[in-house]
């Protein structure tokens, strides 16, 4: 990861979403991107230039553009119409984004196209976030890591966020995916945590 005076940046063509530039680098804002917040809060699973990434819930391609700056290739899955249009615009100018207009809960629809990846990043608003992560686990190589954003409020608004996260990590553990670390994204994002799960 590239830091300039304590500010997280990535190296690439700017002007994707009006991001600020510092000395020719694109500022990666932790308030806008959960992945950036993860790095600000001491997340250690960094992006490397050789990495292949599967990104579930790519949305408008804001974070994806930074991942594309830092990794070899990004498979970006998004299933909503309006965000996909923006994502395609981002992908049209970045040669290493492979956009997939598909539902992450139905991986068989994009399975023939996605190779084995080193990092699985998941940021989906869905009640069964653990289930989606497990369904997509076959794409992750052994020794790779899954970074799973748990949006506590998308799972159950009536429960305490900490309980929801505990439940998700338990469900993952039952299928053999142990969360090595939980990072809460306060103060950048409320009621969101990232689970760091290595696959062995």
């Amino acid at each position: 990861m590239i830091w300039i005076d304590g500010v997280l940046v990535s190296r690439g063509e700017g002007g994707v979403y009006g991001e600020r530039m510092i000395r020719g680098h694109r500022v990666w804002d932790p308030c806008r991107s959960k992945l950036a917040a993860y790095y600000y809060l001491g997340g250690e699973v960094s992006l490397e230039p050789w990495m292949r990434v599967l990104y579930l819930g790519a949305a408008h391609g804001t974070t994806v553009s930074h991942v594309s700056d830092s990794a070899e290739v990004v498979y970006a899955v998004e299933n909503a119409y309006a965000p996909m249009r923006d994502l395609l615009a981002v992908a049209s100018r970045r040669k290493n984004i492979i956009p997939l207009f598909a539902d992450a809960a139905h991986p068989s629809s994009y399975a023939p196209l996605v190779e084995e990846v080193d990092l699985l990043f998941q940021d989906v608003a869905h009640p069964d976030q653990a289930g989606i992560a497990l369904m997509n686990l076959p794409f992750l190589r052994r020794g790779g890591t899954a970074l799973i954003v748990v949006k506590a409020r998308s799972i159950d608004v009536t429960q305490k966020p900490a309980d929801v996260v505990h439940e998700v990590s338990q469900k993952l553990a039952e299928s053999g995916l142990i969360s090595r670390r939980v990072i809460w994204l306060e103060p950048y994002h409320r009621d969101h945590a990232i689970l760091e799960c290595p696959k062995d």
Partner: protein, 298 residues
């Protein structure tokens, strides 16, 4: 490739080629359209799934390098996404959703600007007061058109023009809704039906919603306040705007909304799967809603 013939495990197919008897035959072209059609014939079982490796495509003779693999794959995926987006955009209900959003936005803009122009007018003529005038919409604009300030008159003219556009748009929504969602429109009118459609996100989405959800579509704040802190649950969302609901006796509105929502759920399914107006269904549904509004058990 023989269509319809099941592929055995010994003959795996990849997007870039087919393996037969241990030998890989590369796909005939790197053209995205050709590859996309090829892909339609490939089924994947997630249980026995093993991701394709780019090296296999190289050994197959489909590409020479990793760079070329990514380039061809990316073109294929962009082609597929653009095609799928085109299909989505071609659904007539998507335009209806935009139209109803635009109408709401016009209302908001006209009210805001008219309100501000009235304040300006009041500042110029101290005897003017908004009290004791039923200063709604058109009447307010007419007063502004008679003011001394040419600027305020210009703004009022502009708003008059927007109001006309809004009226035309309303007619157009009613008409389009009557074609796209004829049964929902038959029940609650084009505007309310189109709003429900917009809130659900599409006709298919609306057709798949349970009646209980349709009943409180648009009452998100109240619903979550209820779930969170146990305040009383919302009885109605968007459907409150239907005359039959807000015009019903206060104690009966809950029952009316419940019945109406159940009928809208059915209507949406008829609209989605059959797409034609069903007079028999509409008569029965309207009768059921009327019974709920004033039937026995009052």
């Amino acid at each position: 490739m023989t269509p319809g013939k099941p592929r055995s495990l010994l003959m795996p197919s990849y997007w870039f080629g087919d393996v037969t008897g241990g030998k890989c035959t590369p796909a005939g072209s790197t053209d995205p359209e050709y590859l996309s059609r090829r892909l339609e014939g490939i089924r994947t079982e997630m249980e026995s799934f093993c991701p394709p490796a780019w090296e296999a495509a190289r050994d197959c003779g489909f590409v020479c390098s990793r760079g070329e693999y990514i380039r061809v794959l990316r073109e294929l995926c962009i082609f597929r996404a653009e095609k799928a987006l085109g299909l989505v955009a071609a659904r007539p209900e998507q335009e209806l959703i935009q139209m109803v959003h635009m109408r709401d936005q016009l209302d908001e803009a006209i009210n805001l600007v008219t309100g501000r122009a009235l304040e300006w007018h009041a500042a110029r003529s101290p005897e003017f007061s908004r009290k004791f005038h039923a200063l709604k919409g058109k009447r307010a604009l007419e007063i502004l058109l008679e003011t001394g300030s040419p600027r305020v008159r210009g703004i009022a003219t502009g708003m008059m023009h927007l109001s006309e556009i809004r009226a035309d748009l309303t007619r157009e929504i009613e008409q389009t809704a009557g074609e796209v969602i004829p049964n929902c429109t038959g029940l609650v009118g084009g505007i309310v039906a189109a709003r429900l459609l917009a809130a659900a996100g599409g006709l298919e989405a609306l057709a798949r919603l349970p009646a209980g959800t349709i009943q409180v579509l648009g009452a998100r704040t109240a619903l979550f306040a209820h779930i969170r802190s146990g305040s009383s649950p919302p009885k109605h969302g968007i459907i409150y705007q239907y005359r039959g609901v807000h015009g019903a006796q206060k104690g009966r509105r809950g029952k009316v909304s419940r019945t109406l929502a159940a009928k809208i759920a059915l209507a949406a399914r008829i609209d989605y799967f059959r797409g034609e107006r069903d007079e028999g269904f509409l008569d029965n549904a309207r009768a059921a809603v009327e019974r709920a509004a004033g039937g026995p058990g009052t």
